[in-house]
Symmetry: C2
Subunit: 674 residues, 2 copies
C-alpha cells in the first residue's frame, strides 16, 4: 500500500476480493450422477428445465432424509415435500437444495429429478445429484467476551458500541523475553506462552465424513497489504508454525476428514495509521479442483480491528511516576519524591548514565495502553524528538507486558516533544460523547505556512487511533511551544469531574496591581534564588512587559475559546492561574517570567506545582495563596516544588521534567459509540 | 460514503485545521475603551467580574441601538433590556454581545458596563467596548442549482442525496483551445471564457463601513495536500489572477472598506483516487494584527466535492461510435456501418495511420463523463495498455468539452484492457440502490497469488469514484481475459430494464446434440470461411473439447452466482447464449471456438453481433436462430456481422473492435443516496 503523504478515506481494502455467493449454480444431466461437496449454510441452484429430455412435461423430485428441496418458479419458492408429487415443467424452473447436517459418509445425500411425458408413472429419464455435506467455520471472539464462539453471524464485519461486534487484535509490541532485544512483533516466532497470550485466538472448525476426499483443499489468505499488519501462527502437534504474514500471503492445506479443529493465533504487527483504518480481514476458502487450477467454492471470512493506542488523562490514577536524576536536581528530586510518596505509587528514577543529562522526560515519551477482551498492557509512545533520553524508552521501558511504539521524522522541532501532547478527561460536546477524552496537540495557526507543527507522522498516528479525536491548539506563540506551558486538567468532585486550568497573565497583573494598591509594591520576587530579584512595582512599571502579556493573554484566550467549543466547556469549568510571560527578543516567542504554575504534575488529588517564588507578604506568597484558594476547595493537595534552578531557568518546569504512566479507563474502547 | 466491503472510516482531513470558535473571549478594563472588529454571526464573551473595581457590588449595562447583550450567570442566559437595570455582580458573570447589522462607521457600536458600590446612582467606574461590525461570507453553489447563493448554512460540509448539500467541482481535463497541446488543468492560466465555464464560481462578500481599517487582512488558503487538487483564480479588473494551488498555499489581501464582492473561480485538478476522497476545503480567515504576527479571529469555510468519472451502461443511448479502419477489415466495416446507420448516431473511424493496425479500440479507452450543476462533458479514460492506439485518445479525442484522464503502470497485462471493464445498468440489491449501476472488472481468483489482475492504479481510480461501486469477476480463465468475452447487458422493456447475457457452452452443447439427434450431425461449421470447416458430430465426438467446455461452464457459473448476488438478479434476468470454447495448450486458458456472440455492440435496440458461422440447416444458422429467439422478443434488432477473419481469428470480436460514447444518465450523481 502506497504510503502517500496525504491521506483521505481508505476507499477500499487494497485487495478487492471477489465477492462470494452463498448460492452456487450446479448443472445436472440425465444419465450420469453429479457428485460434489456441499458446505452447510450455502444453497445449490439447479436448472431443471434445461437438461430435461425434449418430451418432458412433468417432473418429480425425491431426496434422501435431511435434504431440503424447494422449487423456484417465476420467483415463487415452494418447498418440496417428502412425498413426491409431479409438477409441471416450465422454462426457468429452478430446484434449490440445502442440507443442515454434515454427512456421515461421502455422497450420502441424494436428490433425484425424474421426468415424465404425462401423468402415468413411466419416467422418460432422470438425473441425480449426490453430495457430501461438510461444515466449515472460521471462528473468532466476535462478541468480545474473551472466548472464541462458534460461527458468530457477524464475524465478517465490525461495529462499535455496547451492541457492536467484531474481534480485536493487539499490536504485540511488548517484549516478553528478557534475552530478546526487540519487540515481539518484529520476529515471526512465538517466543513463549506469554507471547502467545498477546495474540488473538482463531479457530477453524471442520466436520465431514471419516473419509478423505481428494480434489479439495483449504486456503487461508490475507490481502497484499494486510500481510504487513498481521501474522498468523498455527498450533500443530504442540509447535507453532508461522503460516501467514510478511512474505506469506496464503497457506494451503489439504481438506481433512472427520471432525477437526485448527487453532490459529493472530499477532498484530502495526497500529492503525494514515494508511490503515485498523481493520484486517482473514479469509478461508474451500478450493475445488477444476480442469485448470482450483476454484474457491466457499469462503468464510473474519474481521479484526487493531486495538488503538489510548492516552490517559490526569483524572486517571497514576501507576508509575518517572523522573530523571541529573547533577544539580537533588533538592528538586527530594521534594518531588515527597509528593509521589503521598500517592503511594511506584517511582522510577532514570539515572544520569541513561538520561545523559536530558531531564525532560515528559518530552521524550507519552504513556498509553492497548486493550483487547483477552489482554491489556501499557504502551509507551516514543517521540521523534530523540535527544539524549532517546534510548531510555526502548531499552528500559519496553519489556514483558509493556509495549513500545515510535514514529521517526527526519526533521524535528520543539513541538514534536510530548509536553505538547496531552489528553482531556471524558467530555460531552453538543450531545457527542468522548468517553475517553480528546487528544490535545499544540500547533501553529492554520493560516501560517512557516509556523512550527508537530511532525505529520505523529499527528497522523494520533488521528488514526480514532477513539480520542484530537483537538489542535495554537502553541507556536511559546518559545518552547508546548501546550503544557499554558494548560492542564485537574480532577474535581463536581461538574464534569475536572477543571481546565489555564495560565493567565491578566490574573497575574490584576493580583500584582492589587498588591501594589495594598502597599506591597516594594515586595520582591525571587528572593533567595540564584537570580536577580525584582520588585512588584518594577514589574508593573515595565510597559513593554505588560503589553507583551496582553498579547500572551490574547493567545491563551484564542485557545480558551477553542477549548470551550471543542470540549463543551463553560466558564465555570475553567480556572485561571496567575502566570507572567516575557517575549524573547529574537523571535518574539513567550517564556514564563517566574515558575509556570500551570506546568504541574497531577497524581490523583496530589499536585506537584512549580514554586513561583513570588513576593512574600507577611511570610506568604500571594501567588501560592491564589492557587491554593482556587484549587483546595476542590479537595486538591497543593505541593509547591522548587524547580527554579534545575528546571525553570532551563525553560521547563515540574511537568516537563516528569512523566506518569496511569491506570487504564474502566470503559472498554470497543464499547464507544463512534 | 466509503465504498468497501469492510467499511473504512474517514479518519481525518490531512490538514487538521485548528478549530475556530464562533465565540470570542474579549477582555475589557476600566479606564480605557477597548476597540475591535466584530464579524456578524459570532459572539463576544466578556468577563464582567474580573476587571471590576474591588468594591463593586452592582453593575449596569448600556449599549447602542442594534447591539444585543445578555448576561450568562451560572449557566442562565438573561437578555439585557435597553432600559438599564442594575444587577448583582458575581464571580463568573459573563456578558455576551452580538450584533446583526454591519456598521456604518468605525466603532459605531458601543457597550458600557458601569460598576456601583450600592443602589445609589454614583458609579465607581466603568469600562467600554467599541466595535465595528462587519459581514464576511465566502459563498458557493452549495444547493446545487448552478448559482452561488448567499451564506448557505451548510456550505462547510457535503452530503449526498436529493436533500443533500455541498458544492461541486469538475476536473478541468478537457482542452478548450485548439492551439493548446495539453488539458486545461495542466497550466495555471484561464485560457478562454469556455475554460472559465468548466470552473466553479466562489464569491467572497464583505460589508463594513466606508473607511479603511488598518491591522486587518483577509487570507484565503488551502491545506498542503489540497493545493494539488484545486487551483483558484481571482477576477480583478477583468483579469484572472492565479491566487491558490500548486505552489501557492495562501493568498493574503488587505481587508477592504465598504461593500465588496470578490469573484473566484475554482478549477479541479485531480480526480478522486485512493489517496483523495474527493473533498476539498477552501478557507477564508480574517487576520488581526497582534504584537507578534496575526491571529485568525474569524474563519469561513466552503467544501467542494470533485465530480466522479461516471461510466455509461449499454442501456444508455449512444452518442458516438468508434471503430478502426485497418487493412483487411473492409467487409466488417461495411456491415458495421450499416448497423450504426440504423441508430442515426455519429460514427468516427480511426484511420490506420493513427491506429497503426491496432484495431482493438474497446481495449485502449473507456468513455465516461463528469457533471456539475453548471456543466457536463464526456471524459475518456485512457488505459495503461498503450499499444499502437495509445496516442489516439490524447491527440484525437481530447478537445473542447471532451476530457481525458489516464493512469499508467510500468507492468501491464491483458486484463488492463478495457474490454475487461464494463458497467451494469442501474440495479437494486437487497434494498440498496445503485442508480448508476455497478462497475464490472475481470480479475483472478482472490485465492490466487500468481493470477493476472487489472493494474492497481486503475482499480484504485475506479473504486475511488464511489458512485458505481465495482464488482470483480473471475476472468483470468480466458486467454485474453476480458469480461466482455463472456457477458454483456442488453436493454429490455420489462423487469429491471435489462438482461444479463452470458455465454453458455452448456447451451451450445445441448443445441448441437439436438441437431445431431435431428439428423444434422454432418452439417458443418465455418463453411465458406477461410478456415477448416468442422462437422457437428465431429465436435460432439471430441471428448476433450466437451470436458473443456464443462470447465468453461463452471467458470461462467462461478461468475453467474456472483453477478446474481452483487446485482440482485434472478434467473429470469439472465439470458444464456450458445458459445463454445477451446483451451490453449500452453496455459489452459479459454478462447472462443466460433465467433463469440456475447461480444456484441449494443446501440439502443440495435445489436451488432459476431456472426457465428454455425452449420446451415435449411439455409439457416441454428446458433443465430437461437439468439434471435432469445433477444427479438425483447424488441431487439439482431444484426450478425462477419468479423471472422478480421477479428475472430485474432482472438477478438465486434465489441473488442468498437467503442461507444453514450449519453449521460438523467439522474445527477449528487442526488444518489450513498
Amino acid at each position: 500500500m502506497a504510503d502517500t503523504e496525504y491521506s483521505g478515506v481508505q476507499l477500499h481494502r487494497e485487495l478487492q476480493t471477489i465477492a462470494m455467493s452463498k448460492q452456487r449454480t450446479v448443472r445436472l444431466e440425465c444419465g450420469k450422477p453429479t457428485q460434489m461437496n456441499y458446505v452447510l449454510g450455502t444453497e445449490l441452484s439447479i436448472d431443471v428445465y434445461k437438461p430435461s429430455p425434449p418430451k418432458s412435461q412433468l417432473f418429480e423430485i425425491r431426496f434422501s432424509p435431511g435434504v431440503k428441496c424447494s422449487i423456484l418458479d417465476q420467483q415463487h419458492v415452494t418447498p418440496v415435500t417428502e412425498h413426491a408429487v409431479k409438477s409441471v415443467l416450465r422454462k426457468g424452473t429452478i430446484l434449490l437444495v440445502r442440507q443442515d447436517k454434515t454427512s456421515k459418509n461421502v455422497n450420502d445425500n441424494k436428490v433425484t429429478v425424474t421426468f415424465y411425458e404425462d401423468k402415468s408413472n413411466n419416467p422418460i429419464d432422470e438425473m441425480t445429484l449426490q453430495f457430501t455435506a461438510v461444515d466449515i467455520s472460521l471462528d473468532v471472539d466476535a462478541d468480545r467476551d474473551g472466548q472464541v464462539e462458534e460461527n458468530h453471524p457477524n464475524k465478517a464485519s465490525w461495529s462499535w458500541g455496547p451492541n457492536g461486534h467484531g474481534a480485536i487484535l493487539l499490536v504485540n509490541c511488548d517484549k516478553d523475553e528478557a534475552f530478546s532485544s526487540k519487540p515481539d512483533n518484529t520476529d515471526n516466532l512465538v517466543n513463549s506462552l506469554s507471547d502467545l497470550k498477546d495474540m488473538s485466538h482463531m479457530i477453524l472448525r471442520t466436520e465431514g465424513p471419516q473419509i478423505l476426499q481428494s480434489g479439495y483443499k483449504f486456503q487461508l489468505y490475507v490481502s497484499v497489504s494486510d500481510r504487513y499488519k498481521v501474522q498468523v501462527f498455527l498450533r500443530e502437534r504442540g509447535r507453532l508454525l508461522h503460516v501467514l504474514g510478511n512474505q506469506k500471503l496464503s497457506f494451503v492445506t489439504n481438506y481433512t476428514f472427520g471432525k477437526k479443529k485448527y487453532d490459529f493465533f493472530i499477532e498484530g504487527l502495526r497500529f492503525p495509521d494514515k494508511d490503515f483504518d485498523g481493520l484486517v480481514t482473514i479469509n478461508l476458502s474451500l478450493l475445488e479442483s477444476m480442469t485448470v487450477g482450483e476454484a474457491p467454492i466457499f469462503t468464510d471470512r473474519v474481521v479484526f480491528r487493531m486495538a488503538p493506542w489510548i492516552m490517559t488523562p490526569n483524572t486517571l490514577a497514576p501507576a508509575e511516576v518517572f523522573v530523571c536524576s541529573v547533577a544539580g536536581n537533588e533538592k528538586f528530586l527530594k521534594e518531588f519524591k515527597a509528593v509521589v510518596a503521598k500517592v503511594n505509587c511506584k517511582l522510577t528514577i532514570c539515572p544520569e548514565y541513561m538520561n545523559r543529562r536530558d531531564r525532560w522526560i515528559q518530552d521524550e515519551i507519552e504513556f498509553g495502553y492497548i486493550e483487547a477482551p483477552h489482554k491489556y498492557f501499557p504502551v509507551v509512545l516514543d517521540s521523534p524528538r530523540n535527544r539524549e533520553l532517546k534510548d531510555f524508552p526502548y531499552q528500559n521501558i519496553l519489556g514483558p507486558d509493556f509495549g513500545h511504539v515510535t514514529r521517526t521524522s527526519d526533521v524535528v522541532n520543539s513541538l514534536d516533544s510530548f509536553g505538547n501532547l496531552e489528553v482531556s478527561p471524558p467530555v460531552r460536546v453538543n450531545g457527542k460523547e468522548y468517553p475517553m477524552g480528546r487528544i490535545i496537540i499544540g500547533s501553529a495557526f492554520p493560516t501560517t505556512s512557516d509556523g512550527r507543527n508537530m511532525a505529520k507522522v505523529i499527528r497522523d498516528f494520533l488521528y488514526a487511533q480514532q477513539v480520542q479525536s484530537p483537538v489542535e491548539l495554537f502553541s507556536d506563540w511559546l518559545l518552547v511551544g508546548h501546550v503544557d506551558e499554558f494548560m492542564t486538567f485537574i480532577p474535581a468532585p463536581d461538574r464534569k469531574g475536572f477543571r481546565l486550568v489555564l495560565c493567565s497573565p491578566d490574573a497575574c497583573c490584576k493580583l500584582f496591581k492589587k498588591l501594589e494598591q495594598e502597599g506591597h509594591g516594594e515586595a520582591q520576587m525571587f528572593e533567595g534564588q540564584n537570580t536577580q530579584s525584582i520588585k512588584i512595582n518594577k514589574i508593573l512599571g515595565n510597559q513593554k512587559l505588560l503589553e507583551d502579556n496582553v498579547y500572551v493573554q490574547q493567545c491563551v484566550d484564542w485557545n480558551r475559546d477553542v477549548l470551550k467549543k471543542e470540549l463543551g466547556l463553560d466558564e465555570e469549568d475553567i480556572i485561571d492561574i496567575p502566570v507572567l510571560f516575557t517575549l524573547d527578543q529574537k523571535h518574539g516567542k513567550a517564556m514564563s517570567f517566574f515558575p509556570d504554575m500551570v506546568n504541574m504534575i497531577v497524581l490523583g488529588k496530589y499536585l506537584g506545582i512549580p514554586k513561583p517564588f513570588g513576593p512574600l507578604i507577611n511570610g506568604k506568597c500571594p501567588l501560592e495563596l491564589e492557587v491554593r484558594a482556587a484549587l483546595e476547595p476542590l479537595g486538591l493537595d497543593c505541593n509547591f516544588i522548587d524547580d527554579f534552578a534545575a528546571y525553570h531557568l532551563l525553560t521547563g518546569e515540574v511537568h516537563c521534567g516528569s512523566n506518569v504512566c496511569r491506570k487504564p479507563f474502566s470503559l472498554k474502547w470497543w464499547n464507544m459509540d463512534m
